[in-house]
């Protein structure tokens, strides 16, 4: 956690200190080992970054001052790191991998994630409690706290391939660099893409030829990253690093 992330509703409107309990309190006491008087890095979800002054450290709460009129070192006046106007379409990975991967994607700063069903995705994955809205939201927050950023990616679940590929994807892919990673392609994956981008990454085992066909019909170009077979948690940051 490189940032105490606050919900806009938690901000006080009268300049009074803000009270935090639970996970964020534990982190300040046990990991940062902060003492009253210390400045802490703070951000507001969807908003700005800055510093708060730790005023009180209780047994199970802390009070944080964020009011520059009372303490000029505090306040929220810095922009969050840039978010790229990019969309990642990812075949739903194993739930255990998914949690870590969703956090990692949130740290990298892209605008939109679609988790997609494909033939080689185990249908049981869609029933996992790790796919609950609350659990995915938590994984995204952990990613922002790690990155020191405040802007959440949009996250969409699509558990039917064909309606997504036929009805939704052509609109998303219009006027956009639109790619699907496919080891069978002879076109190398481009580098350093400017402007909006969509990139689709298949399950371990790959997309079916039928699925590649549907994605191509929707406007995606099949490109290859070479002959090595990578785990999804490796290929996602590796491909984004190459494309960025």
């Amino acid at each position: 956690m490189n940032l105490l992330l606050l919900h806009p509703d938690e901000l006080s409107t009268d300049g009074s200190p803000l009270r935090l309990e639970g996970r964020r309190f534990d982190h300040v006491r046990q990991v940062l080992r902060s003492a009253p008087g210390d400045l802490l890095r703070v951000g507001v979800l969807g908003g700005k970054l800055g510093q708060g002054r730790l005023i009180t450290l209780g047994d199970d709460f802390l009070d944080l001052l964020l009011d520059p009129s009372r303490d000029p070192a505090t306040g929220l006046d810095q922009e969050s790191p840039l978010v790229l106007p990019w969309t990642l379409i990812l075949a739903l990975p194993r739930p255990k991998v998914l949690r870590r991967l969703i956090s990692a994607i949130a740290t990298l700063g892209i605008a939109r994630i679609y988790l997609l069903h494909t033939y080689k995705v185990d249908k049981a994955y869609w029933q996992s409690p790790l796919l609950s809205k609350e659990s995915l939201h938590q994984a995204l927050l952990l990613g922002l706290e790690q990155a020191g950023a405040t802007r959440l990616p949009e996250l969409h679940l699509r558990n039917r391939f064909k309606p997504f590929a036929e009805d939704e994807l052509p609109g998303l892919a219009a006027d956009t660099t639109a790619l699907v990673l496919h080891p069978g392609s002879s076109t190398p994956c481009p580098r350093a893409v400017e402007g909006p981008l969509i990139v689709a990454i298949g399950p371990e085992g790959g997309f079916l030829p039928y699925e590649i066909g549907k994605l191509e019909e929707a406007g995606l170009e099949a490109v290859s990253l070479g002959e090595r077979i990578l785990r999804v948690e490796t290929v996602v940051p590796w491909a984004l690093g190459r494309l960025m």
Copy 2:
């Protein structure tokens, strides 16, 4: 496992089938669910790739034929994927992260890894059983089996920063693109580097200014990947993807 990786000593010299037990047998039976007669992807550590024919599947062993004179579909005649002449210098991460990360690095195909002590690396990490030669070798093999490749990276442990930076690194960095990722730098990290490369990646918490100075003296250039703070398991593939 996308490859049954064999040690050169396991190859028969008289064309007789080769017997496998243990982990590789379990994988063929339980994950691949192969039956006698099936062709399996095979590679020899440090050597070539090809196919073997599953001849017998016993209760705790399998026999594999690799002799093209007896079965033309079998044999080892394909080159392993390319390995880049690259060196990754990595501050030793938490042992639990290390294992996964070493496997991931092996899948990506670089020639050399140094695990380095720095000020912000917990000294206790060096005592972990996961750092034994056997355990690290196993993690590298898992990476090759995943990638479908046969060439192991060299892996070196350096538990003293200063002698490494002063005595060993200048030689490694000579006539090579040599970089250290450092958020404080105003030089952006280059893309698509050709030829030999060394890249150093610090611990979570970063290198000390003193350490950055030592690395620069050894010939490394400090470059930045932006203001987001990434976990080591994210930044390694992300940075390699950008540099490749």
